[in-house]
């Protein structure tokens, strides 16, 4: 025993550095707990393992999709064309990307959207993949078009030839 022959006081003197270390660790723990209480949102855990306040924060973020009902109000021609083909159920913004900034603008022509990059757009959905349902129209694009742009034969809004 280290304190054999000595007194308890001696023992404490000789382990003073360990007591200091323990103090440092405890101080660290206290600082952590303080930071923790300061950082955790008040209602955390009310509905589950998340902060309910996050819902409001998310709600405040700008909406980037306008929804196709909005597009249809102005782009009657494209809407009619699309409705008559098999892309009828493919939303405008699935191909054109989020366009709220364009659709909700006072002057939409000032925020004219860039047209989709056809070379990558169509194969994103139509590339042949054994994992897709067999009835879904799919082609091996490289063989099918021989490098020509898809919209040189197909009409994007009504793809049937």
């Amino acid at each position: 025993m280290p304190w054999k022959g000595g007194t308890l006081r001696q023992f404490f003197r000789n382990s003073g550095h360990l007591i200091r270390l323990a103090a440092v660790l405890i101080a660290g723990l206290c600082v952590f707990l303080l930071i923790r209480t300061a950082l955790i949102p008040k209602a955390f855990g009310k509905y589950g393992h998340y902060s309910p306040g996050a819902l409001d924060v998310i709600r405040q973020r700008p909406v980037s999709y306008a929804g196709q009902d909005t597009c249809v109000m102005c782009h009657d021609g494209e809407a009619k064309e699309r409705a008559s083909g098999r892309h009828a159920h493919v939303a405008c913004e699935a191909c054109h990307g989020p366009q709220a900034a364009h659709a909700n603008a006072d002057d939409p022509s000032a925020h004219k959207p860039r047209l989709p990059d056809v070379a990558n757009l169509c194969r994103r959905c139509h590339e042949k993949d054994a994992a897709k349902p067999a009835h879904f129209p799919q082609v091996v694009t490289a063989e099918h078009s021989g490098g020509a742009a898809c919209n040189s034969c197909h009409q994007p809004h009504n793809p049937h030839l």
Partner: protein
């Protein structure tokens, strides 16, 4: 083959691998930490005096790699500032979220504490002798206590011993945990086996021991100090034993899978014979397991001259380090190459200059050595070896 690299039937979300090179690196690095620490504890707890010259080296190696261990994860996940949330609002039912605590426990309670206790006398000495910023750092490290009386060192020794005793299961926890993460993915037959934590653990010990052995020889060479052969021989012996256990466990897993031959077997077997043939069979099993095992066995069985033995240990160590990396690769990448439908296979290409690319991985592997050099400057492990070479 409509989608490049895909063969047969692959669900759409399996085509691209989610876990890439950095997730291979992560268990590799934590493995080195756990292995180095376990080597250090050999001396401390099991009183293997011969490995004493590597004791401090092993501790500093473990610390250097442990500091880098979370970085691959941070880079993979992005948003490093959010990682702190796993301490603020701990999610107790997620093994991955609990990693933060395993890590923190291991870093502060085990490794830093043990290093501090081991070095305390040196720190006090250096606080007394050095000046300026250096002196200030050492003074801070003493925590204001200059007491290095024999009685206080006896207490340090006892506490250090206790810390190491706690440290061994902690090292097991740290790396067993990594294996557990993979072993508990029940949808993935390549990973899902209760043997996984144990296999990871032993391969960690193998890589850590090999790493410290190579590092010790390299450092001695760089410092122009004599290599203590008794020490290296002993390390090699332990490397041999743990490697035999590790290899047996992996083979047990293999034999068990082959014999059980469940519904996934045909697919996995095909994968091992095609996409993983090079990295698993040739590299991991043949070149980096059987060859080093044969080398180690011959140093145990035959009388071989010192210089030759050193060369053999060096080759063995390097091969083992490559082999354990290959093992991590085969587990992490292999587990994502086949479809859960067992009807198709995808492939994986490492990017070069990307956030999770080869360049990042190389930087992450260099970083621990830079930290190591800094640590050695701060806490030199040598005095005892220069005073008594060959100890």
């Amino acid at each position: 083959m409509a989608i490049p690299g895909v063969e047969g039937f692959m669900y759409p979300n399996e085509v691209e691998l989610q876990w890439g090179l950095l997730i291979v690196l992560y268990p590799y690095i934590t493995g080195l930490v756990a292995g180095a620490f376990i080597l250090a504890s050999l001396e401390r707890v099991f009183k293997v005096e011969a490995v004493r010259p590597t004791y401090r080296l092993a501790l500093l190696t473990a610390l250097a790699f442990l500091l880098v261990a979370p970085l691959p994860l941070q880079l993979h996940l992005g948003h490093p500032e959010r990682s702190m949330e796993m301490y603020l609002t701990p999610h107790t039912s997620s093994a991955m979220a609990m990693f933060g605590f395993v890590y923190l426990w291991y870093l502060t309670v085990v490794l830093l504490l043990e290093i501090w206790l081991e070095y305390r006398a040196d720190i006090v000495h250096m606080a007394r002798t050095s000046t300026g910023l250096k002196g200030l750092i050492y003074k801070a490290l003493t925590l204001g206590s200059m007491n290095v009386s024999p009685a206080s060192r006896v207490i340090d020794d006892k506490v250090g011993y206790a810390v190491t005793v706690i440290g061994i299961p902690s090292a097991f926890l740290l790396h067993g945990y990594v294996g557990f993460i993979f072993g508990s993915v029940k949808a993935n037959p390549w990973w899902s086996t209760p043997l996984m934590p144990i296999v990871f653990l032993f391969s960690a010990m193998v890589s850590g021991i090999a790493g410290v052995m190579v590092l010790y020889m390299a450092v001695m060479k760089a410092k122009k100090m004599p290599i203590d052969m008794r020490c290296v021989d002993t390390i090699a012996k332990y490397l041999f034993y743990t490697f035999v256990i590790d290899f047996s466990l992996e083979m047990l897993d293999l034999v068990h899978r082959t014999y059980e031959a469940d519904e996934s077997f045909r697919s996995l077997n095909f994968m091992v014979h095609t996409r993983l043939w090079g990295s698993q069979v040739i590299l991991q099993i043949f070149l980096c397991t059987l060859v080093p095992l044969a080398l180690l066995a011959s140093t145990q069985l035959f009388r071989i001259g010192e210089a030759k033995r050193r060369a053999m240990y060096l080759i063995t160590g390097l091969l083992v380090l490559v082999g354990i990396f290959a093992m991590r690769w085969n587990v992490v990448i292999g587990g994502q190459l086949f479809s859960k439908s067992f009807l198709g296979y995808t492939s994986f290409k490492v990017q070069f200059a990307a956030r999770e690319g080869l360049l990042t991985a190389i930087a992450l592997m260099i970083l621990p050595f830079a930290i190591f050099v800094a640590l050695v400057k701060l806490l030199p492990p040598w005095p005892e070896t220069t005073e008594a070479p060959g100890d």
